[in-house]
Symmetry: C2
Subunit: 228 residues, 2 copies
């Protein structure tokens, strides 16, 4: 479903070059649940930006459904990011002036879903992440973990076939984190949604089929989980 071949990402700042990813070969099969683990600064979010078509590699290719995304025009990329991929950002990236329900329905409006159906689905998604009492709160009227859960609900809005979850439980207590892990697991097991998470949450790692270790921008290890 998703593949990076020889992906390198180098940032050039006034103070020098930072090599965030070095020749990363990474692939995920449709329906897989993969966790990417590694120290802070090892390149997890950068890899997600490559796979999610939010940024371009300095060299190497990224394929989604066997299509080289560097060949897509901006409309095709927009469609990918809106319909095919659900991105849960590490720093949430909610729209500050919009309420929780409006943040969640926005991608559906972009996808052409009519207003009543999108509000109904938005309420259902926010209920699934425990926020049905917070529909009309704006991000600054929500706790950190509540903002994180709005970001999660939003990523699921258009029923994406690929979810990129960047540290989705970082701001959650263990019980709420478990609910999110089960939510993602159910999408994977019952609906075949492909899930890639960047995480250091051991429970989330346990729930995945495969764990890929990143260190200083390189994949250094990979292990399969024996799941029943």
């Amino acid at each position: 479903l998703a593949q990076t071949i020889g992906v390198t990402k180098t940032y050039s700042l006034g103070s020098g070059k930072v090599c965030a990813l070095q020749k990363v070969d990474f692939s995920v099969m449709a329906g897989e649940y993969v966790s990417i683990v590694g120290p802070s600064g090892s390149g997890k979010s950068t890899l997600f930006n490559m796979i999610g078509a939010l940024d371009q590699p300095t060299s190497g290719e990224v394929f989604l459904d066997d299509i080289d995304i560097a060949q897509l025009d901006s409309n095709e990329l927009a469609w990918l990011r809106c319909r095919k991929i659900g991105y849960i950002f590490q720093t949430f990236n909610l729209i500050p002036v919009m309420s929780a329900i409006d943040n969640v329905t926005l991608p559906m409006i972009f996808a052409g879903v009519e207003s009543e159906a999108s509000v109904e689905r938005g309420i259902d998604l926010l209920d699934q992440v425990g926020l049905k009492e917070r529909l009309h709160h704006r991000p600054n009227e929500l706790s950190g973990g509540q903002q994180q859960r709005v970001a999660i609900a939003r990523a699921l809005a258009n029923r994406p076939s690929l979810i990129l979850a960047d540290e989705p439980t970082g701001n959650l207590d263990l019980a709420t984190g478990q609910e999110i892990i089960h939510l993602l697991q159910a999408l994977n097991q019952d609906h075949g949604v492909t899930i890639i998470t960047a995480t250091h949450d051991l429970k989330m790692i346990e729930a995945s089929d495969r764990v890929v270790h990143l260190l200083d921008g390189r994949i250094v290890n990979e292990e399969r989980n024996e799941r029943d």
Copy 2:
């Protein structure tokens, strides 16, 4: 050192009232290391805003060093927040247009520390959190966990006697998180700094003297840790 008496915080939105804290009696002795735990949305950050004088209770009092902070004028409050209290925000709150080193030295400039000494201390603090290679990166040129560590370094800049750490390891892998736990522990044990953390990190909770459980804006349980 810090005490809340009957602190209640109610937010009124168009859609109704939210009672974030209900008659909370909470106190911390000088030199203590206390963890506040509780589900997402239970009131941890709100309690921190009360203690850190960043917001006012709807009713009840907050005392710092036996002074009712509601009686302080804005200069006295500014001094408190700059010199006495170090606040590590759950969502970092770094200044986007400034580099890591400038973010860390800013509180020192406000405290009247002269420029060369503040840069020297800033570099040392960033080194202590593993970021001496990232001094000139701005927040959007840093990973999530690196931004969190800049926020930690900044909170320590003026050698506060009270640190409020709101989920300081939420974006960190276990090894980096351990470094932060040891850093805070050393400040507490070697320098008598009072530390209050809001966290769901079990390792951080283990490191504290006392654990206070919050649920729906109320303290529901408290336990002492037997530490060697």
